[in-house]
């Protein structure tokens, strides 16, 4: 009797295997740096799985769809420690994965993209917001789901102008990326008719972000720093390095709102975004990762979903076929932002609405009403085709 049962089970196992053809396997790699950056606000401190957690959710979403199409997605994560060779790590990752989601600084990303070009691996830049990766240094094998500094600055600028807060006090940090963001903000002001009444620098003299003495000193420093400014409507801070921005709200000499790197911040995503069906995805994310979803999580989620969208539309896991479809005119992806997201074919940047958030709520979503464009209103954010210096190769 037992032998008979075992035989039956064995036979049925065999039968299932024969009936279901092997699924098409689609390997996705995730390449990022080890360690996390330090922020002024403890609640904004990124988790160690920032970014990859979004990719993981998208892999689950793709697999739910994949089970109807006999496609199976896998995720392989690789973190680069200091001193490790990023190109070697990327090459190893590319052996099993035709697609790589990268959260890397611009230079490292360029090295990786050049090293993997021959192999045909498709890279998704989920982390770097540098303009040059979409302009002079653009690459034909890199798709950008992260917005650019100019897109973020324009999204904020449109709202400030719409609000008629057109006199800006610009405060810029002393690090390179702060200056790049400030450049983007100055360009925005010129485009949309805002006036920068004063351009101030906040020197980073070093020091700890957290001290036992707490806010006492900051409360004295910030009013003095912003004292004597010409009449302005809003203080716009460029502090990507997290040195002073978050200290400004409620502490300016004149009672003025703060925007930019603190106060009202432009972001691709926010944990409080619940419009356009986003609540279901936010719930899925919290269930899977036991924390809330960040912009980097969303940028990685979108990248993996773009792969899933293309594999289901082409009914194929072939990297070349999928890449061609993503770059083609019929591609679009839904990402809970109220409109379909498409690629700018001249530099492979994903068009997307940008949220303006205050840390608790979504205050507005840009592009704002009245900013018009003959192709897509989303192209009022960032550099447009006629201005682009990108030549894809």
């Amino acid at each position: 009797m037992i032998r008979w049962l075992v035989g039956l089970i064995g036979w049925s196992l065999l039968a299932t295997q024969v009936l279901a053809a092997d699924p098409v396997m689609i390997g996705v790699g995730y390449l990022g740096l080890a360690g996390t950056r330090s922020t002024l606000s403890l609640v904004e401190q990124p988790a160690e799985n920032d970014g990859v957690a979004g990719a993981r959710l998208a892999i689950e979403d793709n697999n739910t769809t994949g089970k109807f199409l006999n496609q199976r997605f896998t995720l392989e994560e690789r973190r680069i420690r200091e001193g490790e060779d990023v190109v070697q790590a990327a090459t190893e990752l590319a052996e099993k994965n035709g697609f790589i989601i990268a959260d890397l600084p611009a230079d490292a990303l360029l090295k990786v993209s050049d090293a993997l070009r021959e192999r045909g691996t498709l890279l998704f830049n989920a982390g770097a917001i540098d303009e040059r990766l979409r302009e002079a240094d653009c690459r034909a094998n890199v798709i950008h789901t992260a917005p650019t500094r100019a897109m973020l600055a324009d999204a904020l600028g449109q709202y400030l102008v719409w609000k008629k807060w057109s006199r800006w006090l610009l405060v810029v940090g002393s690090h390179d990326e702060d200056k790049l963001f400030a450049d983007a903000l100055r360009r925005t002001a010129t485009r949309f008719g805002a006036k920068i009444v004063q351009d101030k620098t906040f020197e980073d003299k070093g020091g700890a972000r957290r001290t036992d003495s707490g806010v006492t000193l900051i409360q004295r420093q910030m009013p003095v720093f912003t004292q004597g400014a010409p009449a302005y409507d809003v203080l716009v801070a460029a502090d990507e390095s997290e040195v002073f921005g978050a200290y400004l709200p409620y502490r300016t000499w004149d009672p003025r709102p703060v925007a930019g790197s603190a106060g009202l911040v432009p972001r691709s995503w926010d944990a409080s975004q619940d419009q356009w069906g986003a609540i279901q995805m936010q719930n899925r994310f919290v269930k899977l990762n036991s924390r809330r979803m960040t912009p980097l999580d969303m940028q990685a989620w979108t990248a993996v979903r773009m792969i899933g969208e293309a594999t289901s539309r082409t009914n194929s896991g072939d990297v070349k076929k999928v890449t061609d479809f993503i770059k083609g005119p019929d591609f679009s992806v839904a990402a809970f932002k109220g409109t379909k997201l498409t690629l700018r074919d001249w530099n492979l940047q994903l068009r997307q609405p940008i949220l303006l958030v205050d840390g608790r709520m979504v205050v507005s979503v840009s592009p704002q009403e009245g900013f018009l464009h003959q192709v897509s209103e989303l192209d009022t954010l960032g550099y447009d085709r006629p201005e682009s210096k990108c030549k894809l190769k």
Binding site: Q275, T339, F371, E377
Partner: protein, 383 residues
């Protein structure tokens, strides 16, 4: 400043109240101007609506003449011939508005659970079922007392549901956990779950009751489910974010609207293949604003109405040619619709402008606007 991008000062309206709640997308197409138009349309209602008979005689359709004559005869026989009761779920205010289609006024506002969306009458007309997503249940409103009397054991975050022809079994799309819940309506008990794609939403059942169609928003598929075995028998890929499915009454086609894709896919339910698409184009409106959601089809399967969301319009589609013949301007962010049983009127829910538009089906004209609760979403009319 870029050559191709300009800032149009004149088009800056004040911030629209209640913009951007729920799944709604607010329009960017000068809402004030459109509202003004819509209001003008509603003034038409002061005059009597055009006589259905007149319009139809002009078209020379004998059968329609007869039915129109019959309707008119009925209208003279009993004064409130078209006195139907419509129930509208208000997603934001957690209420259901009751509309009398004789006076076109809200006669009662019923407090329900949180985030009411999908709404439908039971087949016997005794209860109104309303999915209250944030309370993870479906509430039953007694149509006589117009009060919530019971609830059904759905899965988490129910949104839309469909019932079989006999009104015995209810199928509920639960957006939060990728399942369809099967409920015995008589016993009000849960019979089981069916695993489907990511974010199930649209639900419809074939006229013979044998096939259930569920659409999943992130998987972008219409799942064909055998109601006997409760197994998926086919999956049909459609355009992005499919939200609503509707069978033709003769069961020859299923129409599925894709909100982000901006199309309606027409599926052959026998072959499980997309056999055609309805495309929409409105001069002066950017393509992204066209987001098809609700679909209504006349009983003769000749005309379909498609709600286009933030395009603030209902498209009138000739079912045979699959071409849009007319766009009707309604309120802002139009979601769903329901016909009066005599098919004289079509009522649409307009999410952002918090009202219901009344369309004269024969004249294909908006004749009235009725203010309801905040962010109206679903609508059903007593059989």
């Amino acid at each position: 400043m870029s050559s191709s991008c300009r800032h149009n000062d004149a088009a800056l309206p004040p911030p629209p109240a209640g913009e951007g709640w729920g799944e709604g997308v607010s329009t960017r197409e000068s809402p004030q101007a459109e509202r003004a138009l819509s209001r003008i349309a509603s003034f038409d209602a002061i005059r009597p609506p055009p006589q259905a008979g007149e319009v139809k005689i002009a078209r020379g359709q004998i059968s329609h003449m007869l039915s129109a004559a019959l309707l008119m005869a009925l209208a003279t026989a009993a004064a409130p011939a078209h006195a139907f009761i419509a129930y509208v779920s208000n997603e934001k205010s957690n209420t259901v508005s009751v509309i009398d289609t004789d006076s076109w006024t809200v006669t009662k506002t019923i407090k329900v659970g949180q985030r009411p969306r999908g709404i439908d009458f039971t087949r016997d007309g005794k209860f109104v079922m309303v999915a209250v997503g944030d309370d993870d249940t479906i509430q039953m409103i007694d149509a006589k007392t117009q009060a919530v009397v019971d609830s059904l054991p759905s899965g988490p975050d129910p949104e839309l549901f469909a019932q079989d022809a006999a009104g015995k079994t209810l199928y509920v799309a639960n957006e939060n956990d990728n399942t369809v819940t099967v409920i015995d309506l008589e016993k009000r008990a849960r019979l089981g779950d069916i695993q489907v794609g990511v974010e199930p939403e649209g639900m419809t059942i074939s006229p013979d009751g044998k096939t259930l169609i569920n659409t999943s928003e992130t998987t972008n598929m219409a799942h064909f489910i055998d109601t006997n075995s409760r197994q998926i028998v086919a999956n049909v890929l459609v355009d992005a974010r499919p939200r609503f499915a509707e069978f033709k009454h003769d069961a020859s086609e299923v129409w599925v609207s894709s909100e982000i894709g901006g199309t309606v896919s027409i599926i052959d339910p026998g072959k499980h293949e997309v056999i055609g698409k309805v495309n929409f184009e409105i001069p002066g409106l950017r393509k992204e604003a066209i987001q098809p959601v609700g679909i209504g089809m006349t009983k003769d399967d000749k005309t379909a109405f498609v709600a286009l969301g933030p395009a603030n319009r209902i498209a009138v589609v000739d079912v045979a040619t699959r071409k849009v013949t007319k766009y009707l301007l309604v309120g802002q962010r139009v979601w769903h619709m329901a016909f009066t049983p005599d098919e004289k009127y079509l009522l649409t829910t307009n999410g952002v402008s918090n009202d219901v538009s009344v369309i004269d089906v024969a004249a294909q004209k908006v004749i009235k606007t009725i203010q309801v609760g905040e962010l109206p979403w679903g609508i059903t009319i007593a059989p």
